[in-house]
């Protein structure tokens, strides 16, 4: 999670929480020094943190944890604290205040650390105090701390920390992060890694010695049986057992330290992005533009410059005799397509699915909700409400077909205040790159069935981005998508598959003959900073929106190589991880909007044959 906190937002959020949860008296006066209490109620105890803030120097934040009342707080309340700390991290913070804020959180964190009671505390990696780069407070669903219930351990990501952070890799990593313009600080990671290695060396040394002693003791016991107890042997035995005990204590002391640093490193390493492909550039690259091939394009090129005001799709739809788009505030960005447009949605979906069947894709209908492990495995931050929709916990729906946890005390308890501690979180994404990935998570695929190509049709859900341009189909939480996924044996096969999919996109959106009427669009390769962390490269097909005067992405293909399959244990029977290509051939909702806009005439009617020909070609 990127650290970005707005003082006001934070302030209000805390206030809201304080009011919402406990109703503690708060004084809200933006210009005065203020103190208020921030309470979290957990099922068994109420613990409170005092947050002290000086608003004049916003977030010079002496987030003083003046009181973490009830020192005997149980694990459950600690994890609530953690949750609240996480909540704090969701605001936009001006850069100049960031480090100070981090200091504050750092101290908050360390006090929480003091109070964590052993192993049931959420694993987390908060970089050292004063870390100016990004931080992550969340636990990871991929890396689960040793000693946690096995129900939490769904996968074991195949990530070799030493290889990733090896000397020769570091410059490449830096370059990757710089090119992507990500805010990850490798130096801090390396500091942690140094510590990680130290602790590991000590830990391993002690452990080897302990094993050595156990071996020796065993040998001695054997001697006792054959030759009887000699005084010398008894003496040796005593020193050995004494040393053994010492080592055991040392080991148990080290164990927590070791696990802490391991968590820290693992979570940070899992945040590192995929390697960039050679065809990924720093700037976008237009691979193809339908200037000449597209008859309707000519018109748009001519008309792109003069300031004729184009109508947007919402207005155009309202002029259709047999269709319309209605925006109702029944939920954020909710829209209803009526009549002709709803039919267009179905027939476009059919059109693409027919094309894909012909191209040898296998249809796959997938669930719409995924556990955090899949979402995180697919490189999406599960804690970020702007990346993925999260469902509220419903522990009661689990009837445990997964291997169950070691302790019944931590089992989910539906209805308990604040949600069950080990409850499983689901995320709603619908048809997305997670869908087919979830299908093969933790699976071996028969080598002979590779390369495999699937497609799914259905609803895609994502949090809408903020814009102030009023209702539009270009920014919706829900859209109809035709999604692609392919798994291949190795890297070169995956390159071929990627090219095949790019060609497919091109074929679908390009007229075969010049007489065909096709929408005006272009294919572009996406620059490194715009890639998601799991992508190594992406090509997009974009259509022109005359009303916004910009290109809208309606289809894309991305290469992830073995990044996702390594995280989610997807191998083929040859024993290696599969290489995957993801993409979608159409965001039907946006496509309809673009088609509508490109079909308008000068007097604002939709009468171009474009819309019909594209929608009704079946």
């Amino acid at each position: 999670m990127k650290m970005s906190i707005s003082p006001t937002g934070l302030y209000l959020h805390i206030l809201k929480n304080a009011q919402g949860l406990i109703g503690t008296k708060c004084m809200l006066s933006p210009f005065k020094k203020m103190t208020f209490q921030f309470c979290i109620r957990s099922s068994c105890s109420v613990s409170s943190l005092y947050l002290h803030k000086n608003m004049t120097s916003l977030l010079s934040t002496n987030i003083l944890v003046a009181q973490l009342s009830q020192k005997k707080t149980k694990a459950s309340s600690s994890s609530h604290h953690l949750k609240s700390v996480r909540n704090l991290s969701r605001y936009a913070l001006p850069p100049q205040n960031e480090s100070k804020f981090n200091q504050g959180l750092g101290s908050l964190w360390s006090s929480l650390n003091v109070h964590k009671s052993g192993k049931y505390f959420c694993s987390s990696a908060l970089s050292s105090i004063g870390n100016q780069a990004s931080m992550r407070f969340s636990s990871s669903a991929l890396h689960v701390r040793k000693g946690y219930p096995s129900s939490q351990k769904i996968v074991k990501p195949d990530v070799d920390v030493d290889a990733v952070l090896s000397e020769e890799n570091i410059p490449k990593l830096r370059e990757n992060i710089n090119r992507r313009k990500m805010r990850l600080d490798i130096d801090i990671l390396m500091q942690d890694y140094e510590k990680f290695r130290e602790v590991r060396d000590v830990f391993q040394k002690v452990e080897t010695e302990k094993q050595d002693i156990t071996k020796k003791v065993k040998l001695l016991v054997g001697q006792f049986e054959t030759t009887g107890k000699t005084s010398e042997a008894v003496k040796r035995m005593k020193t050995l057992t004494k040393r053994g005990r010492e080592l055991r204590e040392e080991l148990s002391g080290l164990k927590d330290q070791w696990l802490d640093i391991e968590d820290k490193i693992m979570i940070q390493v899992l945040e590192l992005p995929n390697w960039l492909d050679i065809c990924t550039k720093e700037h976008e690259n237009i691979l193809l533009e339908h200037h000449k091939t597209c008859s309707s394009a000519d018109q748009f090129i001519k008309e792109m410059e003069p300031p004729i005001s184009y109508k947007d799709h919402v207005e155009l739809a309202s002029r259709l005799p047999d269709g319309n788009i209605h925006f109702r505030a029944v939920s954020p960005t909710a829209y209803y397509l009526e009549g002709r447009l709803a039919e267009a949605e179905l027939s476009l979906t059919d059109h693409f699915s027919d094309q894909l069947l012909e191209a040898g894709f296998t249809p796959l209908s997938c669930p719409d909700m995924f556990k955090s492990v899949v979402v995180e495995g697919c490189g999406v931050d599960t804690e970020d409400p702007e990346q993925v929709l999260t469902l509220s916990c419903r522990g009661d729906l689990e009837d445990g077909d997964s291997p169950d946890s070691e302790s019944s005390s931590t089992k989910t308890q539906p209805g308990s205040a604040g949600g069950p501690e080990w409850s499983i979180t689901y995320h709603l994404t619908g048809v997305s790159h997670m869908a087919a990935t979830a299908y093969i998570t933790k699976n071996y695929i028969w080598e002979k069935s590779l390369p495999a190509k699937w497609y799914s049709v259905g609803r895609h859900y994502q949090p809408a981005k903020e814009d102030l341009n009023g209702p539009s189909l270009f920014n919706t939480c829900q859209s109809s998508r035709v999604q692609l996924c392919a798994a291949t044996v190795n890297c070169s096969e995956s390159d071929i598959m990627y090219q095949e999919m790019v060609d497919l996109l091109q074929r679908l959106y390009t007229p075969k003959t010049t007489s065909e009427i096709f929408p005006y669009g272009r294919m572009r390769s996406v620059p490194a900073p715009q890639l998601a962390m799991w992508e190594s490269c992406r090509n997009e097909f974009q259509l022109w929106s005359p009303s916004l005067r910009k290109f809208i992405t309606v289809a894309a293909v991305s290469k992830s190589n073995d990044f996702i399959s390594k995280r989610l244990m997807i191998k083929h029977s040859g024993g290696h991880h599969v290489h995957m290509v993801h993409g979608y051939v159409a965001d039907v909702t946006k496509l309809i909007a673009c088609l509508l806009e490109q079909s308008q005439t000068k007097n604002g009617e939709v009468s171009l044959p474009l819309f019909q020909s594209f929608v009704e070609m079946k």
Partner: protein, 504 residues
């Protein structure tokens, strides 16, 4: 300017007057483009003055009230025109002492929540006696709150009692006799059987229990069923449906207004994390979204009846441990084609006629698929709060030897329209509440289950019903056989080294 913190999404931008200006601009633009139905009609509701549509608020320069309830920044940029007032119940009828016994009996017959009618009637008396408006308002609001849990009336012909009392209306199609032991859809379609159409095992760790994947021909059959159903609804003379694409995420108030509980232990409604996304629920059926589509609208008499249909994803958090409900019978997520109708209430029988029409349509649809099914007039205990009358259709599932529900249609009369405020201008000029009718046209997983089990062949193949053949790939495909190039996967967790060697 005071502004409430709207979840964590809150953005400082909003503090700037510029964005407010934009907001009102976009609102004005919005108004000019699509007026109809966007702004709730100013219902003259003397006692509840909660109609705080944005219009008024923008004029007053405060955004606060209109934004309350939708605690999501996404909304800050949108005109908030949706607002659900408290239900406009038929208090004159419900709280008439003469009707007390009838209503009480109806509640008992339907096993509804118990309501203290005596207390309510007393409240109504107080209400009538109250002298000032504030007092009246308070009393009425508590009446509405309590009385809204009174269920709809029941049709006089509906059987009284539990499930077993359902009245058989009609038996359709022929029961298929098997001269071999037929398999369940799970075994028939599993990867082990070779057809590899369905995955329901080893999904708990990634997508949770009761999730399923339809593969290959089964996924095609899902699309084929939609392509079979929708044209049947759209291409009807005079009585054709309008297709509507609906949102799957809804505000809990709409779901409640349709007569479904969104809170409590037994709720079947999924909710998004409120802290992260505000108050959003997932729709359990397109009926909810279509109800929301009509909410707060006043229709003209000549626009009625309206028939609309929608293809949507449905999310239901229901569980079951019954043996026959394994596989894809009872699932959390599925695709469905839903029919929804809005009728007038001039003669009082319009909605019953539409219900009859829906049932005929359903019969035609399932007959076309060659299913053996029965139509049941459902008894009072099975109606749920909103339905006045309900018909279920149950198809014969040969392997487990039971009748499995494949569709349901109900007449909700004015139960939903009083809660969603859907009205029409009656012939006499007054505004009356419409009646709503809903019915399932195609619930995909259950139909697939019924089709697959009933049309299985002894050699393990499946015959595709003729009506669906033209929608399959390649067009006209008649039989689902083992795929030429099988697509094998094996779960890690159940894999020994020996097995792995063999797998390779």
């Amino acid at each position: 300017m005071i502004c409430q913190p709207f979840g964590h999404h809150f953005r400082c931008k909003l503090w700037q007057s510029q964005s407010l200006l934009n907001l009102s601009r976009s609102y004005v633009r919005h108004l000019s483009t699509r007026q109809q139905g966007m702004i709730p009609p100013a219902i003259q509701y003397p006692l509840f003055n909660r109609t705080n549509c944005i219009h008024r608020n923008v004029q007053n320069g405060t955004l606060r009230n209109s934004l309350r309830g939708f605690s999501n920044s996404v909304h800050l940029s949108k005109p908030i025109s949706f607002h659900i007032n408290p239900p406009e119940l038929n208090i004159e009828y419900l709280l008439d002492p003469c009707n007390k016994d009838i209503i009480q009996k109806n509640i008992m017959n339907r096993k509804g929540e118990s309501v203290d009618l005596g207390h309510l009637i007393e409240l109504k008396r107080q209400y009538e006696a109250a002298s000032n408006d504030v007092e009246k308002k308070n009393i009425l609001s508590s009446i509405t709150k309590e009385a809204s849990s009174i269920p709809n009336n029941s049709h006089p012909d509906s059987p009284i009692g539990d499930e077993a009392k359902a009245r058989l209306v009609k038996l359709c199609g022929e029961k298929k006799e098997f001269n071999f032991k037929c398999k369940s859809h799970i075994d028939l379609c599993s990867a082990e059987s070779g057809l590899d159409l369905l995955k329901v095992r080893n999904v708990g760790q990634t997508t949770g229990n009761r999730t399923y994947y339809l593969k290959g021909d089964a996924a095609q059959m899902q699309q084929a069923l939609i392509k079979y159903t929708v044209p049947k609804l759209l291409n009807r003379q005079d009585k054709s449906f309008t297709l509507i694409s609906v949102p799957d995420m809804l505000h809990p108030d709409i779901i409640e207004a349709c007569g479904f509980k969104t809170t409590g232990d037994r709720t079947q409604v999924y909710t998004l994390d409120q802290e992260k996304h505000g108050q959003i629920c997932l729709s359990g059926t397109a009926e909810m979204a279509l109800g929301g589509f009509y909410a707060n609208r006043v229709l003209d008499l000549d626009q009625l009846p309206q028939r609309v249909c929608a293809v949507s994803r449905c999310y239901r958090a229901e569980t079951s441990n019954r043996e026959e409900e394994k596989g894809i019978y009872r699932v959390h997520q599925f695709t469905k084609v839903e029919m929804f109708g809005v009728t007038a209430d001039e003669t009082g029988t319009e909605s019953e006629e539409l219900l009859k029409e829906f049932i005929e349509l359903q019969e035609d649809l399932y007959d076309g698929l060659g299913l053996h099914f029965r139509i049941l007039d459902m008894p009072t205990e099975e109606l749920g709060a909103p339905a006045y009358r309900k018909y279920d259709m149950e198809a014969w599932m040969p392997e487990k030897q039971f009748w499995g529900e494949i569709s349901s249609s109900s007449n909700c009369t004015d139960y939903q329209s009083r809660r969603l405020h859907i009205k029409y201008r009656a012939r006499d000029g007054s505004e009356k509440f419409v009646h709503t009718v809903n019915g399932t046209a195609c619930a995909v997983p259950r139909l697939i289950m019924a089709i697959v089990e009933n049309s299985q062949n002894e050699d393990g193949t499946i015959s595709i019903p003729q009506a669906l053949q033209k929608y399959m790939f390649p067009k006209g495909k008649q039989i689902i056989e083992k795929p030429e190039k099988p697509w094998k996967t094996q779960y890690y967790y159940k894999f020994s080294d020996e097995q792995f060697r063999r797998f390779r």
